[in-house]
Every structure is written in structure tokens, then in C-alpha cells.
Amino acid sequence: MVVFEKPKSLTDAEFHYCPGCTHGIIHRLVAEALDATGTEGIAIGVAPVGCAVMAYNYFSCDMVEAAHGRAPAVATGIKRSLPDHVVFTYQGDGDLASIGMAETVHAAARNENITVIFVNNAIYGMTGGQMAPTSLPGQVTQTSPYGRDVKTAGYPIKMCEILSQLDGPEYIARVAVNNVKNVRNAKKVIQKAFENQIAGKGFSLVEVVSSCPTNWGMTPVKALEWVENEMIPYYPLGVYKDRSEKEGV
């Protein structure tokens, strides 16, 4: 009896991610949600620019690679063309919360019927560890070598808090994948974000607080501790907006 297998919605390609990076877990959770909803054959994924740029090689559904930050606009074009398909984006913090802020906010405001997976690891990973819009105050990065000084570099952007203020979106939630309990919860929340789309409810975004041992300069274990002790207190987990719950649907 097989008790554990690879989700059908992942290809056999080997991930290029660094040891200890949580992208692998998040990819798996997304693939499990596609499997669970039986939508692999009608799913179209939009890969970002950033560490997950080659996500198109890992998901076995049809995939497109978007310009930096533009994934929600690309997903909009696809969803409007193929409304019966399941369309999702997979984006990092630089992509979604910095260069793609306008595309993110407006897709949410339109309640575009897509699913957005937002991986927040508080750093630009692919380019080698620069300060991200979500880097914490005091966080040392290549472009904040003395720690993020909020006087000159401003404060981190809390996307769930911002987006949940909009009338548009259906579902805004923040999860983490730093321990088993959180992974299990993330799996449920991500699946719900896909079920919402299938039910035609609209824009669902799941922010996943993630780790980057390589660019944080930590061991994988230390990085997960940093998620627990530094990231989660700044980015509290939970459901920030759920329209169907509010309306008792």
C-alpha cells in the first residue's frame, strides 16, 4: 500500500531550490490542492520572476512565465479568456509587494476570480539577498548591510492587512510552513483558496511566511526558528478576510 506519494500535479523535474528552503513544501501544497480539487487538467499557473521563476517546470499543468510583478495581470488575461479554467499565480515578496503592487491591489479590487500564492521570505532570494518590501526593521541584507533602517528604507509592507481593507477580494489569509502544525493548516487554507475560485467566489490570496536560510545566512533549523520568533510576530497568521464566512454562506 502506498502511504505517501508525489502529487500528480508535480512533474518529475528536480527542484532547484536551496537546501532548507520552504518553496518545496509550498509547491507540494499547491499541487496537492490541484490534485484534491481534480483541476490539474484545467489549471493554468503563472510563474513569477524570483526564486520560483522556473515553477513552470515543476507543475504539470499548463504554465506561463510572467514579467516581474505582472503575474496577476497575466492571470487576469487568461481567466477572462478561459473563465472555466483554474488560474493561479505563485509569487514572491519582491514580485508581489514591490514591483507588482499595482497589479496585486487591482486584481484584488476587481475580485478577479484567481488564486494567488504569495511566498513571503522577507528577502530577494534569486538576486542574492537584497532588502525586500517585507524585510523586517533591522534585518541585515546585501542592500541593508547595517540593518533595515526604517528612517531611510521605510517599513515592511503587510499585504494581508492592506488587501483585507478592500471591498473586492473574497479571501485573504496568512499561513506559515515552519512546523508540522502550520503546514497542515497551510494545506487547508491553500485548498480553500482554490475551492473559492472553482465556486466562482473570486480573488483569494494566501500569504505563506517562508524562510531563506541561504540569504538569511542561517542553518535551515535556525531559519525556521527565525520565522517563529521574528517573522510571525510581525506578520501574524490567520484569516484576514473571508467574505463567505461573514455572509454566512
Binding site: 489549471a43 499543468c61 504554465m63 514579467a67 495581470a73 488575461g77 479568456s81 497589479e103
Partner: protein, 353 residues
Amino acid sequence: MADKVLMKGNEAIAEAAIRAGCRHYFGYPITPQTEIAAYMAKRMPKIGGTFLQAESEIAAINMVYGAASAGKRAMTSSSSPGISLKGEGISYMAGSDLPALIVNVERGGPGLGGIQPSQSDYYQATKGGGHGDYHLIVLTPASVQEMADLTALAFDLSDQYRVPAMLLADGTIGQMMEPVVLPEESASKVEKPWALTGTQMARPHNIVNSLYLVPEELERTNLERFERYAEIEAKEARYESFMMDDAEVCVVAFGIAARVSKNAVVAARAEGIKAGLIRPITVWPFPKKAIADAAPRVKGFVSVELSMGQMIDDVRLACGCAKPAALCSRVGGMIPSPDEVLAAIKNMNGGNA
């Protein structure tokens, strides 16, 4: 036989696009192309299509990128400053071999410039515009009729070669009203097996992408694309030849500049000067052969442009600088008068007429 209707140039583009099977329009307001968006906003909801006013030109072109990757006929329209913003998305579409239509109803620049007609985006349209080695198929209408006809043609050529197409118009043709016979209903004539339509668990996944981290692979995609460009250059250059049979002075002009030039050529003939006109209908591919063929027979070329002289480079290249080329231009929203063009023709003729 279809009836003639009186339409604005911009509206003719919109209606022709719908008749060509385009059901997905994404735009952002900018003068002087707003009639296209307004027309689409009215029509698309009635025919099950998409009109979406995006948050920016950048978002609009990326929505086109999405719809085109799903295999749909999709378009956006803008004017010069907005086209600069679309440059990123256009480069990605070129790199991903996606067909689509981009309309540029040009206005004067650089910067915010003005809102009056211009042709000063010629370099941007014909030499790439965004980053990387690429071309667009660029069509230049000179009448409201051509706004409609070339819109339909642009979709066909774009699908056929998997190269984004641009309709390079100017504010005059966009705003002008003329009778037009609208094209018949049509649709894409080619299969799009590369499109993202969902695997339906029946085929390997399709990937639309412009990233190639292995240099040999990226080189190969560029070489393959340029083979297609060579085929386009060989087969798809279009132009109108006017009074060129015995011409000794060849005027080269497109769009509104060509209409002014035609009057000037007729006026020159009335004064006994053998003038003619080559009017490029495609500026990429540029009708090089027409220019090269004319070169041995003419004293020189007069390039009439609403720019500081951009197309004139292609005229000189096409004839290998075998004959002199002079520029007759107005910029900033000004249009050369027939008299100004006539004076340039006389000057090239040597003032001996």
C-alpha cells in the same frame, strides 16, 4: 457587397478588430486613442467579449500577454507615452512568440509631449522598442479604410508568424471621419497547439516562456525567430506606388504624411516635375526592394515625416546611399503642408523644372 459607413479612424480599428474575432481588449485611457476603448466598452459586453480598463498600460499589455497565451485574439491600444510603458510586455510577447495586436495612435514627444499627431515613434516601432533582439510586424494606415483593413491583416499576420503586430497610426487618421467598408467576419486561420488551454490530462503541459538560462538555447531561439523575420521580410513588405513609372524624384511617406505628399506629387507633375511616391504600408518589414529598384532611376529621395527624420535612415539603407535623400518634416504635432513638400521635391529635382 458590404455597405459603406461613416466612421472615425479609431472606431474603424475597434470594429474591424471585433470582426476579426478579437474578443479581448485591455486598455488604459490616453489621448488621442480613447475612442477605441470607448467603442470596445460599448460593444464587448454585448457580444460576450472582454473589455477591461486596466490599472496601467503595463497591466494592460500583460493582460494581453495572458489572453494571447490562452490562444485568443487579443489587443490593446495606446498612444506614444503609453506604448513606452508597454515596451516591457511587448518584449516578453516577442520573446514568447505570442501573436497579438498593439495599436499606437502616435502623438508628439518625447516625454509627455503633446496630443497632436506625430510619427516620432518610428524607431521605437520598427527597431524593437523594448529590450532584446526582436521586431514587430508594423502596419501604417493612411485612411480610415486602411485602419479597418490593416487591423484585420495585422491579426492574420501575427497569428501566422507568431510575431506581435503593431498598427502604427497617428492622431490625424485616428480622429478623421471617412466612409469605410468594414471587413467580413473572420477568425484565426491557424491552429495554436502551443496555447495554454489546460492539459485535460491528455497531453504534456504547455509552457509559454521567454527565459532560457542556457546560452546555446537562448541563441537558438533567437536564430529561429530571425529565420521567421527573414521570411516576413521576403514575403510581407507592402507599399503603394504612385506615379513612380517615370519618376525622377521619389517621395517616401506613410500615414498622414503620405496623403499630403500625394497632393504635392500631383502639384509637381502639374509644374512638369516627374515626381512619384512610394508609400510604405508596412514599415517593418520596410519595402526595401521598392526603394532599391527606384534608386537607379531617380535623382534622389524625399522622406516626408512627422519626426526629426527616422524613416529616412531606412530609405538610405535600402538604396545603399546610392542617391541623396532629403528630409521634409514637421514635428510636435505639426504636419507639413503640400507646398512644403513641393518645395522639397523641387529642391531635390535641382530647381531646373
